[in-house]
Symmetry: D2
Subunit: 478 residues, 4 copies
C-alpha cells in the first residue's frame, strides 16, 4: 500500500492518498478543492483515483470531493449517519455510496472499515484501514476531526460559528462515547492520522506531529484521564472550555459541503488589471484585498483596501473578513496570484476578478497610511479617558492579560460589530505582533473609521514600559 499525507498548511488541513500498486487504484480522503495535487500524484505514481471519501461535512474548508469525483469518475463514499440536517444533498450525477457504521469497502487490496464517530459533528465517520497485501488487521485509522494528535475535535463549532444553539454539549457527550466505544477499543499499535494539524480552529490543543497512535493517545492525551475513570461530566466540561473563536464563514462552508458547491473544472487564472479596469471593477463593487505585509500596508495603501497578508493564514483571514457576494481584486505580485487564488477557492471565495501587482502608478498623495501611536502616547490618552483601546486578539489572550478598560473584539469579527465602536474619539487598536491589528485597522479604515490608530509594538510595547495590565472577563467577545 502506498500512503501519503497531503498537508495544506494554510488550513492546517490534512488529506490522504492511499494507493494499491497491485491493482492501480487509489482512494483520496478529505480532499481539498484544488484537486490537481491528487491528480498529479496519481499520475506520477501510475495510479487511477477510483474512490473519494469524506469523514464528515466540513465546516472550515470547501471539500474537493465532488470536484475530484467529477474529474476522475471516482465513487464517493459519504456518511449516511446523522439526522436529516446532516444528510448530503445534490449527489445526483455522482457515483456514490452512502455508508454507515460497520460498513466496509475495498480499493484494490486496501480494506476500509467505516466507524461512526460522532462528536465533532453528528454524522462524522472514521476510516479503519488495513493493507490487505500484508494482513487483514487494522494498520491505521483516518480520524478526520474526531481524534487529533493530543486532542479531539471540538463539538461546539457550529453553535459558536453558526448559532446552532444547544448543540455543543450533546456533541461533547457523543464525543465521549465515540472515544470510549470506538477509539479505545482499537489496539495500541494502530496509527492515527487526523484531518488537522496544529493551527486549525477545529480543536484547541492539536500537536505538531503528523500522526500518533491509539496507544499513545490512550496514555497521554489530555482527555485520557477522564476516559480512564469514565468521567463524562468532567470530560464535557473540559472539552468545552477555551475553544478558539470560530470563523463566521464556517456556516457557509457547512451548507455548501452538504448541498453542493460549484464545480470549478480547473484553477482560475485572474488577469492583471490595468488602472482603468481596476477602477471599473471597484465601481462595480469589487473589494481590493491588499496581500502585502503589514509594513507595506502601514507605509501606504489604497483607500478601502482590506489588508490580508499573503502567508499561511491567508485562507482563514480571508474567510473571516471577505464577503461571499462581492467580487475581489487582489493586490499581489504576479507569481503569488495562483497561490492566493488557491487559498481562496479552498474556502469558496471564487470571485477573484483580477489582480494588480502593487502601487506602481499611484502617487503618495493618493494613498493612505496607517496612523501609529506609541505606547507612551497611548498611555497618555488612555489615562485621560480620551481614547478607546480595542484589543483584537483572541478571547483567551485577552483574558490572560489586557489593558484595563480595553474592548475585546477578535480581529476577524470587527466587521460584524462595527456598531459597537465609536467614531468620535481615538481607537487605539492592538494585538501582539501587529498582523491582526493591521487587518482590523484596514477593515476599520475601509468603513470610515478615520480615528483608528495602531499601537506600535502592540501589548508588548505597553508591558515593556510597566504600564498597567489586568486579567479577567472580556467587555465584548463577539
Amino acid at each position: 500500500m502506498i500512503f501519503r499525507q497531503i498537508y495544506e498548511e494554510g488550513l492546517a488541513q490534512m488529506s490522504y492518498f492511499l494507493g494499491c500498486p497491485a491493482t492501480g487504484e487509489a482512494l483520496v480522503v478529505d480532499p481539498k478543492r484544488d484537486i490537481d495535487t491528487y491528480l498529479d500524484l496519481a499520475q506520477s505514481l501510475g495510479l487511477t483515483i477510483t474512490a473519494v471519501a469524506e469523514t464528515h461535512i466540513h465546516a472550515d474548508y470547501l471539500s474537493g470531493a465532488r470536484e475530484l469525483a467529477r474529474a476522475t469518475g471516482a465513487t464517493l463514499y459519504l456518511s449516511d449517519e446523522g439526522d436529516e440536517n446532516w444528510k448530503y444533498r445534490g449527489l445526483e450525477g455522482f457515483p456514490h455510496v452512502l455508508v454507515k457504521d460497520g460498513d466496509e469497502f475495498k480499493v484494490g487490496n486496501i480494506r476500509v472499515k467505516v466507524l461512526h464517530t460522532p462528536g465533532h459533528t453528528p454524522e462524522h465517520i472514521s476510516f479503519l484501514v488495513a493493507d490487505g497485501a500484508v494482513s487483514e488487521e487494522p494498520l491505521l485509522l483516518l480520524t478526520g476531526d474526531f481524534v487529533f494528535v493530543g486532542d479531539v475535535g471540538r463539538p461546539d463549532l457550529l453553535e459558536e460559528a453558526a448559532g446552532f444553539k444547544g448543540t455543543a454539549e450533546p456533541g461533547a457527550r457523543r464525543m465521549f462515547q465515540s472515544l470510549k466505544a470506538k477509539f479505545l477499543t482499537l489496539p495500541d499499535h494502530v496509527q492515527v492520522w487526523p484531518g488537522h494539524g496544529a493551527g486549525s480552529a477545529c480543536g484547541k490543543a492539536l500537536g505538531a506531529l503528523p500522526a500518533t497512535t491509539v496507544g499513545y493517545e490512550r496514555r497521554h492525551a489530555w482527555w485520557a484521564e477522564y476516559l480512564e475513570r469514565d468521567d463524562e461530566e468532567g470530560f464535557v466540561k473540559a472539552l468545552l472550555l477555551g475553544q478558539p473563536e470560530a470563523p463566521t464563514y464556517f456556516k457557509e462552508m457547512k451548507r455548501l459541503n452538504r448541498d453542493g458547491m460549484p464545480i470549478l473544472g480547473g484553477i482560475p487564472h485572474p488577469a492583471r488589471l490595468t488602472k482603468s479596469q481596476f477602477t471599473k471593477a471597484l465601481a462595480e463593487g469589487a473589494i481590493l484585498v491588499d496581500t502585502r505585509d503589514k509594513f507595506a500596508f502601514a507605509g501606504g495603501h489604497l483607500k478601502g483596501a482590506i489588508n490580508i497578508p499573503a502567508g499561511k493564514n491567508f485562507s482563514t483571514w480571508a474567510g473571516w473578513l471577505l464577503p461571499y457576494d462581492r467580487p475581489l481584486v487582489l493586490m499581489a505580485r504576479p507569481e503569488e496570484v495562483e497561490g492566493l487564488v488557491r487559498a481562496l477557492i479552498r474556502i469558496g471565495l471564487d470571485h477573484v476578478v483580477g489582480y494588480i501587482p502593487g502601487l506602481e502608478g499611484y502617487a503618495e498623495g493618493e494613498l493612505e497610511t496607517v496612523p501609529q501611536i506609541t505606547a507612551e502616547e497611548a498611555k497618555a490618552l488612555w489615562e485621560k479617558g480620551q481614547a478607546l483601546v480595542l484589543d483584537v486578539r483572541g478571547r483567551d489572550e485577552y483574558l490572560s492579560g489586557h489593558i484595563p478598560g480595553a474592548l475585546n473584539l477578535h480581529a476577524g469579527r470587527v466587521l460584524a460589530h462595527l456598531d459597537r465602536l465609536p467614531k468620535d474619539r481615538p481607537l487605539i487598536v492592538h494585538c501582539v505582533g501587529g498582523d491582526r491589528s493591521s487587518t482590523a485597522i484596514s477593515a476599520l479604515l475601509a468603513h470610515g473609521f478615520r480615528n483608528a490608530l495602531n499601537l506600535t509594538g502592540g501589548i508588548r510595547a505597553w508591558q515593556a514600559l510597566g504600564f498597567p495590565v489586568e486579567k479577567g472577563e472580556a467587555l465584548v467577545n463577539a
Copy 2:
C-alpha cells in the same frame, strides 16, 4: 514538539527535523548534504538547529551532518559503538558528543535515548524520542536503517558493495538480536520512523508508508514469525536472500562519511558552457552526462556521452556509472541544473564544471543514434548464435525469466566488466522499459562498443511474440 519527516525521493531517504517550540531549539537526524532544506525549515518555524545526529555511517549517500554542524554551530551526536573500523574520524573543529547505548540527551524539551541497534552496520544506533512537554514515555523511534516499514536493514551491503568479506552473516545475527532485545521490548504504540522508504537499495521489502508502529511490525513484518519462535537461523537465511545489487559507490560513501567529506558552504551553480568551453572541458577529461530521456538519447546524442536521465533515480545511476575523479558536464535544461547538481552532491559527485542545454548548434551528422533491433530481428540473430544477448536487469529479474543464453550484467555494473563483453559480434542489450538499456548502451558506446543494439520493447516485446524464455542461474552477475 514539532516533528517533520523530510523525504528525499531520489535516494528514498528520510531525514527528520524535531523542534521544541518552548526553547526554540531543533534537532536534525540523518541530514542530506544539501542542507538548505533544514535551514529554511528552521527559519520558517523560528527555530535554531542546535543538534545534529546520525543513526550510522551511511553508505548510500553523503551525510550532511558535518555540513549542517558547520553552518549552524550545532553539536553532533554520533555513535561511539562498533570497532575501530567504524569510528568517526576528523571531527576536530566540530562540537560533538559520541554516544553509546543507553545514553540520553535533550534538545529543549525533547528527550532522546540512544539504543545500540547493530545489524545493518556494527555501530548503528536508534533514537527513542519522548516529547517531554507531554510525557517522559517514548513517543517514537527513529530507526535509520535498522527497522523499515515491513522490513529491516540489510546486513550484507558492504560485503556486497565493498568486498568486506564475511560480514554479512554476522550482521544478520546481530540484527536478530537487536530486534529481539531492543525493538520488540518497546510498547506496541511507539511510532517507528525509518531512514528509508520504498525504492532504497538499503533493504528489500520496504513499504510505501512513511511510518509504522512497533505493534504493527511485531505482528505483520515478514521477520515477525522468526522472532516469535526465536528462529535465528531461519531469520538469517531469509534476510540474506534476494537483496538487490549494491552500487559500487557505496564503498566510497562509507569512507567519506566516516572520515570526513569536503564542506560545500552552499549549492554550487555550474555555468552554461559555450561550445568552445565545452570542447575544452572534454579535452581536459570531462565526461558528458546526457540527462535527457532515453528517447531523446536514442534519437541523437553526442559521442561519448553517458545517458543518465533526469528523474528520481538520477543520484543512484550517477553513483553506479560516474567516476569520482573526473570533471562532469551536464547536458540539461537550465532550470533542471540545480536539481541535478543537488542530486550529485548528495552522493559526493561535486565536480560539475558546467552544463550545456541541449544539442542546439550540432548537426545531425555530428551525432550518434542508438541502433535499434526488433524482437524478430534479434530472434533471428540469436537463433543463429550470431549475437550475444546482454540482460542489464537486476539478478532477481533475470532469474525469474530471461532469454536463454543471455548474459546478466546489472546496468550499473557494465562499466566495471567491459572485459567480459565481445566487440566482434552484435550485443543485443535489453531491460524492461528501455531506461536501463539506454544507460548501459551509452556506457558501451562511450567505450567503443559499436556493436551494441537496443532490443526495442525489451524483454516484453520478446515475450509478446512467444519467443523462448528460461529461468535459473545467471551466467554473470557482477
Copy 3:
C-alpha cells in the same frame, strides 16, 4: 516620443509602440494577438493606449488590433483603400477611423500621416511619423510589409497561398509605383521600421537589422537599380522570382483579419490531462502535437502525433500542418505550455484542449520510433529504383541541388498532397538538418505511411559520400 519595437521571433514579426509622455497617450501599430505585451508596456510606462493602427490586412498572423481595442477602448485606424475584397468588416462596436492616403491623425504630440503604399496588398498603408515635440518633419516611417530592410513585401502571397490567380504581377507593378511615388520621395534620413525581420515568409531577402533608412535603401536595396533606371519590367520579374513557399493557413488568416476573429479576453491556460482524459480527447478527434525535439520524437513517440518542435518556428509549422477545425493536445513540459499556446493563438489555433507533459506512463512497446536509413543504405535502394526519395526542403533549396529523381514537396505541404505519395515502397525522406523531415515523417506516419524512412544526416550525409546530386526543375512543388 517613446518608441519601441516589439519583436515576435516566432513570426519574425514586428509591432510598434509609440507613446507621448506629455499627454500619456500611446499608439500601437500591427499588434500581435497576445496583447498583454502592450498592456504591460503601457502600464510600466504610465501610458494609456488610445489608438491602434494596422498597415494592412495581415496574412501571416492573426491581428491583435481588435483584441487590443476591446481591452482598452482605443480607436482603430484602418485602411480604407483597396477594393471591396479588401475592406474591413465586422467593425461594429469598435471605435474606428478608416483612413486613406494623405490622412493624418495625432496621438498626443505624435503626428501620423497615412501613405497608401499598395503592392504587397492593394489596401496597404504606411505611417509617416513625426515627433511633434521636436519637429513637424517626418522622423520615421512604419512600413508594415511594404519596405523591409533590404527588400520589399512580396506581391504574390495570396496567389501563392490562397489561389487568388493573377494578382501577383499587378501587385508587383503597384509595388514599383509605391516605391517610386511614395518611398523614394522621402528624405534620406527618415528611419524605416518594417513589419517583419529576417525569417518571415512575407519577403525573400529580409535583412537582420531592426531598421534601415530611406537613404540606405535608395542606394543599396536590391531593387534600387531598377527604380533608378525606372525599369518596371525588370523590377517585376526580379520581384516575382524565388519567393519562398507561402503557408496554406495564410488564406484563413487573411479572411479572419478582414472579417473579425474571436476576442480571447486573455491567454487560455489549458489543463494537464490525465491519461484517461487524454485518451478521451483523442477519441473525440483531438490531434496530439508532439513539441519535443526531433531526437526525442525519433527515439519514441505516440502513434498519430505530429512533431512540431517547440522553438522559434513553432507558429509557422503549426500553421502549415495543423487543421483549424480539430481540437489540439500538446505534448510539452508544463513550463513551456503558455509560450506554445501564445504561438498558436497568434495564428488563430485557439482550440488547445489540454496538454500532457511527456511519455511518462507509456511503455516502450506502446510507442513508435522514426525508422532511420543511412546514406549508404539509401543509395543502394535508390540505385535499384526500389525507393522514392522525398525531398521536403523548399523549392529553392531543391533547385540548387538534389538527389536525382527526388520528389520535392515542402514539409509543410506534405499533408495536402498525400495522394502523390506511394505506400508500396520505401519513402526516403530528407531535408538538411532533420527538423523538417521529422515533421514531415510524423505527418506521414500519422496517415498510415509505414514506409517512411528518415535519411540520417539529410542531404549533407549523401553529399559527403560523393553520391550524385543534380540541379534543375522540381518534379513536384506543391
Copy 4:
C-alpha cells in the same frame, strides 16, 4: 549582417551585437559586465564572438569588455587616442588592438571604421559600420556617448563627479569640433545608434527612441542651430547648462575601466543568511540594503538599513549610496536576488555576502518606522523656524520651485554631506514621489539622525495646500 541592440534598462545603457552569418563571427560593442547576455545570444545565433570594442572609458558602469574577452578569447579593440591619463592599462594577457582615428578592422564581412570623436571624453571613438555583404558604404554609426538621440554626451562628467577641474569647457569645445568634422560630414541616411537612452546621467536631453539618423539630428537636435551657424561659444554655453548631478561612484568606474577590474567568471549567487549569519555579517561590517519599496520600508525596517528599492534605478542609487569597501547584505525576495546582484556588479559592487528574504522572525518592537509629517504640521514648524527643510531632489527641480529656506542636497549626496545637517531640530525631508526621500531618510537614520521626518506627499502635498514656494538659487547643491 545581424545587428542587435541590447538595452540595459537600469543604466539606460545600450550595447551592440553585430554578427556576420557568412563567417560565423561576431563583434560586441560596449558590453555590460554580466556578459552571459552576449554569450547566450551568440550561442542561439550560432556565432562566435571574436571581437569586443569600446567607444570610450566609461564612467557610469563597469565595462564587461575584459570579462567577455576572457570568456571568449576575443580581441579587444580599444581607443589609443587621448593623453596618458586616458590610456588603457593592464591589458597584458588580453589579445588587443589599440586603434586611432581612421583605422579600420573587419569582423567577418562587417567593416568597422574608427572615428575619433572626443568631447564626452578625450579618447572617445565612434564606429562607422558597413555591411560588407551589401556595400562598402556606411550603414550605421555606433556613437557611444558622443551623439545620443536628440543630444550629445556631456563633457563635464568628470569635473562634476570626480573633481577633474577645468575639463568641462575644453571638452565642450572638442565636442563642437567632433560634431562639425566627423558627424556632420556623414550622409544623412546613416543610422545612429548611441550608448545611452533616456534616463542616463550621461546627458541631459536623451530621447526615448532606440536610434536616430545623421540627417534627423542635423536638422532637429537642439545643437543643430549652433553648428549650422558655426557658433562654438553658444554651443559650449548651452551644453554646459543644466546637466544632471553626476554620481560620485563615476570616478571609481572610470579608474577601474581604464586600469582593469576583477574578472568574475560568472554571476555570483549569494546565499540566504540565517538570522545568526546575518547578525555575524553585520558585526563584521556589512551594510544591509533594504530593497523593498518605500511603503514597506516606512512601515517597518531594521535599524541601519539603507533603502534602495529594487527597480530600474537600483544600480544608480546603489552607486550613489553604497560604499565600495564594505560587504553588503540584501533584503530581497529570493527570486529577485540574481537581478539585484547583476545590477550591483554592473557598477562594481561585487561584495554581496548574502541576503535575507524579509522581516520574518522580527517583532514589531525590533523595528524602526519612518516618521511622517503632514504638510500642515510641516508648515507650522517651518513658520516658526523650528525645523530645517531638506529638499533631496535634483538641483534643476529645486531651482524650478522649492519651499523657501529649504536646503537642497540631492538624495545621492546626503551621505557625503552629513556635516551640513543639524541633529538638534526636525529635518523635514522631501522629494516628489517619496522614493528619494525614503532613500535619503534611510541614510540619515542609519547615521543617527533621529530627527529626520518624511514630508508625506512631498512637495506636491505642500503645493496643493497653497503653501509658499520660491524659485532661485540653491542654498546647498553638493
